[in-house]
Amino acid sequence: MNQFVFESRQKQLFISAMILGLVCLLITFFTDDAYHSRFWSNILHNSVFFTGVGFLAIFVLSAKFLAYSGWHTIFKRVWESFSMFLPIGLGLMILIIIGIWGHFHHLYHWTDKAAVEADPVLAGKSGFLNPMIYTLFTIGIVGIWIYFAKRIRNISLAEDQEGGPLNFTFHRKLKITGAIFLPIAGFSSAAIIWLWIMSVDAHWYSTLFAWYTTASWLISMLALTILLLLYLKSKGYYTLVTDEHLHDLNKYLFAFSIFWTYLWFSQYMLIWYANVGEETVYFQTRMNEYPVLFYGNLIMNFVLPFLILIRNDNKRKVGVMVFVAVLVLFGHWVDFFLMLKPGILHTIHEVMGHGHAVVEEAAAGHGHGEGHSSSVAGFSAPGLLEIGTFIGFLGLFFYSVFASMTKASMVPQNDPYLNESIHHHV
């Protein structure tokens, strides 16, 4: 079975997931505060999460071309299909941009003109943190990613038509494309992470943050790859993908979970040791007001995957693989939740505290002002609506992935590294 069939049952499943997500978003929209901050922050959270997954797929593919890697060749279409989600991701981010220009939401403190004028820190950063840069960088950078993703996809498809097992011309092109993309990807992803994620805590910054976030995206991408491959194998596709390939993917998952923890800890320890108030406030908020998520984050994304995947045979057992992949996928989604929501909540408190007309309305709805210790629905922890929205976005993501899977042969027949991949042995 080399031609993927997008069954109507799968379509129904994904569409119903999307409807569930949409319903959850609508319920959120009608039940949250006057700024619809829960609604908008859920959109931002999931858009950023899945756009990053698409980006990391093309990033890893490029790295593999450059490293003359061959073991992944059988299932490289999966990563190509992941990267085909990027245009949708851009669309979702444009939604956020429209929200910024139309003042539909207050996710970012720096979009509030009055606040920027009154605040020397925000004023000092306004050369970078302003709606224009946000718009240009988002469209420009994701546009560049889409360009490279499409280019790599096209070369790969052309190879399928015109190449041959010993024809390296297409592969050379892929290598050159990858070589150009990697440095661009490295710097551009950092810039986009500052804008999309780090700037919700507009006063705070960390030089490690971009790496840390990228590691989170990478692990989510690997977890989704493992889950999708296991699913496709159970449907009778990818019989050539063996335990050996899955073993290597799980080694990645194991190693990058440790890498993520390394970055998490480096960021934490430097800030803890230096003890500068402007920096420690980030962890102060998260440790005191989100203790379950804060420590749960470390347990889900480090302790459990580390202890479970450290054993060799565990990386080959389907049950264990599924458990760990689902765990870290959810874990890193929560990680993004923890990056975004506390900052957004703080901004909302600030904006409402500045005597806007909607304060009374919001206070009537939720009864918060400076009440930091009390919990806020959708912010203190992911609620059912957040989970529903996540499922909706998962449906959207996989709908896009499956739709691109149908457009090409599942195994790239003419890739010169295919034979190596078939005989991959750990």
Binding site: Y268, M269, W272, Y273, N275, I310
Partner: protein
């Protein structure tokens, strides 16, 4: 594996690892009991053919690492909270985050040294120990299958010599280890 008693060995040398793999398969199908196989580099697919179990060295490694973790963390905790408490930069005596890097280093150190010592002990290697080699070329470009010949009849020995000629061994020799 090391053994102190002398061992009579009949061995054949092959030029190529595919020849070796085929020969091992042939030996398995003829129910010849291979004593050991020597190769200059790890040959993929050889372990399952020889019926070798997965090494348990890494399990030992995990516990060596765990020893390192607890020793390092425990020692620093004891020193900085009980034995000689010092305030560094206004931090509390028990400053767990600043213990982590050293804990990590000692975990790696203990796991490495523990595994090396275990491996050398199991293999009977060590400083000053002379290695018992069947043929120097098995560390270079030859692949070797060895049979223990102690207590074998001439008939059996003939079978083994036949086996080596059939499977294309370039040389056959005997040696006492």
């Amino acid at each position: 594996m090391s053994s102190s008693s002398a061992k009579e060995v009949l061995f054949g040398l092959y030029d190529d690892e595919t020849q070796l793999l085929d020969a091992v398969k042939a030996a398995n199908s003829q129910h010849l009991e291979i004593d050991n196989v020597y190769t200059p580099f790890p040959v993929h697919g050889l372990d399952p053919l020889l019926g070798l179990e997965e090494s348990r060295l890494h399990i030992a490694g995990f516990f060596y690492g765990l020893t390192g973790t607890s020793l390092a963390f425990g020692f620093m905790t004891w020193v900085f909270t009980r034995d000689w408490p010092i305030i560094f930069g206004g931090k509390p005596y028990f400053s767990a985050p600043s213990f982590i890097p050293i804990t990590f280093e000692l975990t790696v150190l203990f796991a490495c040294i523990g595994m090396v010592v275990t491996f050398y002990t199991i293999c009977g290697m060590g400083p000053g120990v002379k290695a018992k080699t069947l043929d120097d070329r098995i560390t270079d470009d030859k692949f070797c299958i060895a049979f223990a010949t102690a207590g074998l009849s001439n008939d059996d020995l003939g079978k083994l010599t036949n086996f080596f000629t059939e499977t294309g061994a370039s040389e056959t020799n005997t040696k006492t280890l």
